[in-house]
């Protein structure tokens, strides 16, 4: 049976996700490191007996809970399915701003959209639609981003030159007249 200290250790390791120093676990449950280490094989046994498909890993002076190798394929399947979720409006906007202004900083994307966009940028990198394009020679040396070859495939383009001209480019009084003024947030960073 999994007793209270084991439950505490388990809870901490579960919530941490990443490896946690054994000493921190010990402090939190009010025990010393040896006690925690002595508990580990017992907890591992208990999990196995109950059929919980997890393993307790000891990595140097750290501990971690992880899934079993055997279940990697089913996990991969389930999580890879995320790729099939259509891009959100926010993601499309970030991509569009990046596509027409690359290389582009996050600050510029946020200036154009008027909202924090860090989460969206990261998820687009994960989807391999955006990639980092080095630091710009601007104050603070900000990271810049550009679209990828995978981005071109996604939108059926052979090259960036095939991006259609922006709406409002001809004869409209919209602020999108191309080329944007040099001091506009829409001006490509040069």
């Amino acid at each position: 049976m999994i007793d209270l200290p084991q439950k505490q250790i388990f809870s901490v390791l579960f919530a941490a996700g990443e490896p946690v120093e054994t000493v921190k676990v010990a402090q939190a449950i009010g025990a010393d490191e040896e006690t925690v280490l002595r508990y580990l094989p017992i907890l591992q046994d208990n999990l196995e007996q109950a059929g919980v498909p997890l393993q307790l890993l000891r990595l140097g002076d750290k501990l971690q809970l992880s899934t079993l190798e055997a279940f990697a394929p089913v996990i991969q399947d389930a999580l890879a399915l995320r790729r099939n979720v259509p891009l959100s409006q926010a993601a499309l906007e970030v991509l569009a701003v990046a596509a027409y202004n690359q290389p582009v900083t996050r600050a510029l994307i946020e200036q154009v959209r008027g909202v924090d966009s860090s989460g969206v940028v990261n998820s687009l990198i994960e989807k391999q639609l955006l990639e980092e394009a080095g630091r710009l020679d601007l104050p603070g040396r900000p990271l810049s981003y550009r679209t990828t070859a995978h981005f071109l495939r996604t939108f059926g383009l052979d090259s960036l030159e095939q991006l259609p001209p922006l709406p409002g480019a001809e004869g409209s009084d919209a602020p999108l007249d191309a080329p944007p003024a040099a001091d506009s947030p829409l001006a490509p960073i040069t």
């Binding site: 809870s11 579960f14 919530a15 941490a16 996700g17 990443e18 992880s66 899934t67 990697a72 996990i75 991969q76 999580l79 890879a80 995320r82 790729r83 099939n84 259509p86 891009l87 409006q89 499309l92 906007e93 970030v94 991509l95 569009a96 701003v97 596509a99 027409y100 200036q111 154009v112 959209r113 008027g114 909202v115 994960e126 989807k127 391999q128 639609l129 995978h150 495939r153 996604t154 939108f155 059926g156 383009l157 095939q162 991006l163 259609p164 922006l166 709406p167 409002g168 919209a174 602020p175 999108l176 947030p185 829409l186």
Partner: protein, 246 residues
């Protein structure tokens, strides 16, 4: 004037403040007396300004809205509009009250449930996006992004400083001023009453003063001329019915 104990209290917005005032002064939310509410509201705004609290523009908007409702209610033959304006405000107050109650309930629930979850396990997963889209989607998104970003740019702060820092002119002081002036001259053109006013607060106060005087039958306004009615005497503003602006 009554001690303003709520001077440092924080309100989410003008509706929050109004609900507070209604509860505090035991006003009937289903039949709000606009005069009393306006008076309490202005007292708070003044107190906040005295304490150099930064007032969001919405507070001032609400002040002018209350003034407007009161104005309409003073005008003859505008009962229907006045009733409608009050119903609108009442509806908004009731709705906001529900919103506050639900928010409080959520807050309580939020404190009760404290569960932790994990960050995703790090593993090699092909996360490349799989779908394809027409490129038009991008253009649309670009237009949306630019439009919204522009709208969200906040107005410059100096746009508000003038409004907030402005002195508040009391209506009763304008009544006294008007009575004195008309008592001497007997009549004046309507426009001339406003000629010397330099700021908005004084203009509004002067206008309300005219309305009050018309209502009390101290003056008449006709063909752009304001006449003093000499059948009434005592140019003392304190005798005027419901005037308690200060």
């Amino acid at each position: 004037m009554e001690q303003l104990s709520f001077r440092t209290a924080e309100f989410e917005g003008p509706l929050d403040l109004l609900l507070h005032l209604i509860a505090k002064h035991k006003l009937d939310i289903y039949d709000v007396q606009i005069s009393a509410l306006l008076e309490q509201y202005m007292a708070y705004i003044r107190a906040a300004q005295d304490a150099n609290l930064e007032l969001a523009s919405e507070f001032l908007e609400m002040a002018s809205r209350l003034v407007y409702i009161k104005t309409v209610s003073l005008l003859p033959r505008h009962e229907e509009e006045s009733r409608q304006l009050k119903t609108e405000l009442q509806g908004q107050l009731l709705e906001y009250q529900v919103c506050k109650q639900v928010a409080a309930g959520l807050g309580e629930r939020g404190q009760r449930f404290r569960r932790f979850v994990r960050a995703p396990e790090k593993m090699e997963i092909d996360t490349a996006y799989r779908l394809t889209h027409p490129v038009k989607l991008l253009c649309d998104a670009y237009r949306d992004a630019v439009g919204r970003g522009k709208r969200r740019l906040p107005p410059p702060s100096q746009a508000f400083s003038g409004i907030v820092a402005r002195r508040v002119v009391s209506v009763s002081s304008r009544i006294v001023h008007l009575l004195k002036r008309l008592y001497r001259s007997g009549q004046a053109s309507y426009g001339s009453l406003f000629e010397t006013s330099t700021d908005r607060s004084e203009l509004v106060a002067t206008f309300l003063a005219v309305l009050e005087l018309v209502k009390a039958k101290r003056i008449t306004v006709e063909d752009g001329q304001v006449r003093f009615d000499r059948t009434h005497h005592s140019p003392d503003a304190s005798t005027m019915g419901e005037l308690r602006y200060d």
